[in-house]
């Protein structure tokens, strides 16, 4: 219930944050909204020696258009993404996804950068980013690099973030008018998805069907080959390795993946 003791520094800028990351090394974690990290620390599943707070850095907050992409600062809360006219117009799947995270209080604090860095395969935003084919801008003392969503999630709660790197912003393609679908199957309102499916422009991403969000590539291929949504969705679970828990065994998860994919392909939310 109470985290183990730690040191805390409020970074004054991203440069300062990177300096701090460098000097603390592996012992430090970045803190934005804290709604992925603090719950872990309260259960003592994580016990960093120091927290570097980047939650109020103006340069990491905000939403803007940049050519054919939307750029969202990493410390932008989910509620802001969900309510943004720009996101709702140009990437409504992302706005909808942000509106599904947890509950209103959680959405006031949790950030897109935090959620992506946490990389819970059952979470909304990692799945949404993969479906959209977005990318993350990573900043380090060595400069910036951009990683595609398909490459960013590398394992169970693991990303391609290197030591000394932070997520500066998240980019998604602007696709106003593109038909999309989003399915989050839960037992109870503010749960994580038992299985999730998001589909747009021939891309289908699944949540909680493996250690990372996964593309339903067999289904995508079938669609590209002219199959109907129902036919393509039959292949949604191919190549997936879903886990088992109190809510669902493997067979049921695979079944849900098929049903939810079909519904997402039918543009249902």
């Amino acid at each position: 219930m109470i985290p183990a003791p730690f040191d805390y520094v409020a970074a004054e800028s991203t440069t300062h944050a990177l300096d701090l990351l460098d000097s603390f090394g592996d012992d430090a974690k970045l803190l934005a909204g804290g709604h992925s990290l603090l719950p872990m620390m309260k259960l003592r599943l994580a016990a960093p020696a120091a927290l570097i707070d980047i939650g109020r850095l103006a340069e990491l907050i905000g939403i803007r258009a940049d050519g054919d992409e939307l750029v969202i600062g990493a410390s932008t809360p989910h509620a802001a993404v969900a309510a943004s006219d720009l996101v709702r117009a140009d990437a409504p799947l992302l706005a909808h996804s942000a509106a599904q995270v947890g509950d209103p209080q959680i959405r006031h604090r949790g950030t897109i950068g935090g959620s992506l860095a946490h990389a819970d395969p059952a979470a909304d935003l990692p799945m949404a980013l993969v479906a959209l084919g977005g990318r993350v801008d990573l900043l380090s003392q060595g400069g910036t690099r951009s990683v595609a969503a398909d490459d960013f999630f590398t394992g169970f709660f693991e990303t391609s973030l290197e030591p000394g790197e932070l997520i500066a912003s998240v980019r998604v393609p602007r696709q106003p008018g593109a038909a999309w679908g989003y399915q989050k199957f839960v037992r109870r309102a503010n749960d994580w998805a038992i299985v999730g499916a998001a589909a747009i422009n021939g891309r289908i991403a699944l949540a909680n069907m493996g250690p990372t969000p996964v593309r339903a590539r067999a289904a995508e291929q079938a669609l590209a080959d002219g199959a109907s949504p129902a036919e393509a969705a039959e292949l949604a679970a191919e190549g997936t390795e879903p886990g088992e828990d109190v809510h669902a065994g493997r067979d049921y998860r695979r079944h849900l993946a098929r049903v939810l994919t079909r519904r997402a392909l039918e543009h249902l939310t």
């Binding site: 109470i2 003791p5 109870r188 828990d245 109190v246 049921y252 939810l260």
Partner: protein, 761 residues
Amino acid sequence: MSILGTRVLRTEDPRFLTTGGVYTEDVVDERLTGAYHVFFVRSPVAHARIARVDVSAALTAPGVVAAFTGADVADLPAVKPGAMFNQQMTRPVLATDKVRYVGEPVAVVVTEQAYQGEDAVELVDVDYDPLPAVVDYADAAAGKVLLYEEAGTNVAANFGDATALDEHLFDECEVVTTRTILNQRVAPAPMETRAAAATWGEDGRVTAWIPNQGAQGTQGGLARLLGLKPEQVHIITPDVGGAFGAKFGAEPEHALVAWVARRLGRPARWTETRYENLVGMTHGRAQQQTVTIGGKRDGTVLAYRLEIVQDSGAQVRIGAMLPFLTILMTPGPYEIPQAEAIAKSVVTTTTPIGAYRGAGRPEASAALERAMDLFAAEIGMDPADVRRRNLLPPFTEPHRTKFGALYDTGDYAAALDKVLAAAGYDELRKEQAERRASGDPVAMGIGLASYVEITGMGDGEESPPQENATVEVHPDGTATILTGTSPHGQGHATAWAMLASEELGIPVDKITLKWGDTDLVPEGGGTGGSRSLQHGGSAVRQAAQELLEVARERAASELEASAADLRFDVERSAFEVAGDPDASVPLASLAEQERLIVRTVFTAPGATFPFGSHVAVVEVDTETGKVTLRRIITVDDAGFVLNPLLAEGQRHGGIAQGAAQAFVEEVVYDSDGNPLTASFADYPFLSATEVPSFELADMQTRTSYNPLGVKGIGEAGSIGATPAVQNAVVDALAHLGVRHIDMPASPQRVWQAIQAAKGNA
């Protein structure tokens, strides 16, 4: 104008809404100045011998004052089960040589500040030699692995004898069906967890603040655990944030907090985390039930048998006794010519089972109502028609069942008809038929339950139920009531004030209720089993009336008239000479020379039996198995309704918990006895989005057992809602060949039932 039966707003609320209730963790009292903070080390394994508990590292952590193991508290007496149970199932207050469930306390750590506790607990090193877990009902009964070796068995008690079952019970039946079903384990999960604060006086008495359902019972419980006499224990009850049956008596942790305070010579306090609450507070339900029901094709039920295995968890506590109540209510509201029931309680390496809203009676209704629907499905008859055919006809003279229950008043058919009309049952069936015909993949289900339940039990016919109340009128026109009940959300401060106000003419907001301090109220039965209004409320009314008689004598002398010539004007709260309103004296003034105070005890002839019928309407997504609760319509008849606002609130809460058991909530253990639902993220605690607004129909069949005509309402909602919702889910899928789905009707369980039915098609 009578205030009884009106929607009086709660006098408690302004405080709760602004500064908030003062729960045990909130208590600021000079007697607790400098209190240490107590933390528990709990077993992470379900069944093991304790080889070694090493607190040495913890003792070096910042702020750690002391750490204790089971060996250190050996002066506390062993905790024995009740007399009817296997006496070898005895346990120490703090585990010594073995642990029997994940969460069992193994050591105590005491710190100066609250935040230091978890750091220190992490440093306590315990060596466990694991033993096989016993989680399954059959394994527990078979007894290959014993929790209490000296007991020679895992059976804590038997209720009835399997060899005495009548093998001819169903001989006359044209149709018989049987099934083994599960009334699953759930967590009471009140929003306030368990807590305690304790301090010792120079006089050797301990004063303990503990959230409870009856300070006097907690006093006795704590005294027993500490090896003290009850007079040496002073219980103070702060505001209590919900209980639902799980805060009766005293917990081992309460005793250990008191023990620490005495040992260290400083006050001590403790509040458990939600994890500790979900593994350490007693769980509810957990019965495996084999129901067998038979009758004629015309819908007449001829015979019913109920065989129960009660999971008691790792210790013999209230749960082990509950089958007694389940068996008592076996036939429910029906006239069943032949019925029998037996049970056994077994221990398992899981959290102990205690009382939970309904405590044994929801289990009876859930089994019976499932059986009625199984029978209805077998003969192809509408479940409403089957029920109507078998319900006991209305009665106003008490009706004794073959199981020994004496139902006071009831009109079960009227309740059923009323709820069916309120639900629009015929239209619902029509809608269902149309949607089935159109092949709608979302299946609509309609479920029924008729129930009767027992409230206000005493301790048997030799010891009839009773409650005390003291009413005092003060010279300033206010009044104080002392009650032996123990409200934790039910609104007694308002309801008891209404009762006194009705008699005395003092406004409700000038009447203060006190309870829960054993120095102030040494006797009382607490609040549970839906007893409070019928016993406690009746006592308040009686005390107020007796006070008026005392006051009348004083008024007579003051007005120099004879008592018989005086009239009490409630509107003015004054005695007047009949026919001469100017010759009057205010009630309050009669308290000026001498206290105007009366204590009385109300004794009831016996328990009362509220009853009702529920209709649930669900939508089942047959592709995913997800159940949505669309409507619940209920009749819950508990006699006269004193305050409809409060009564509706009790019904809402009960209905929500009952529904939650049917389709959302469950405590899950894996086969090694590890709890898998020990947080609010994992335990599917109901939120506002899972339930609709409820539709309550009004019906008030009074009892003759008390002057108010009231029965108990607190648990009735949960007794009807669980089977109504479960039956609705099965009904939704009946056309696909599904006959039963165990609770909760989680999406996976529903989907698997659909697949299984397809496989059998």
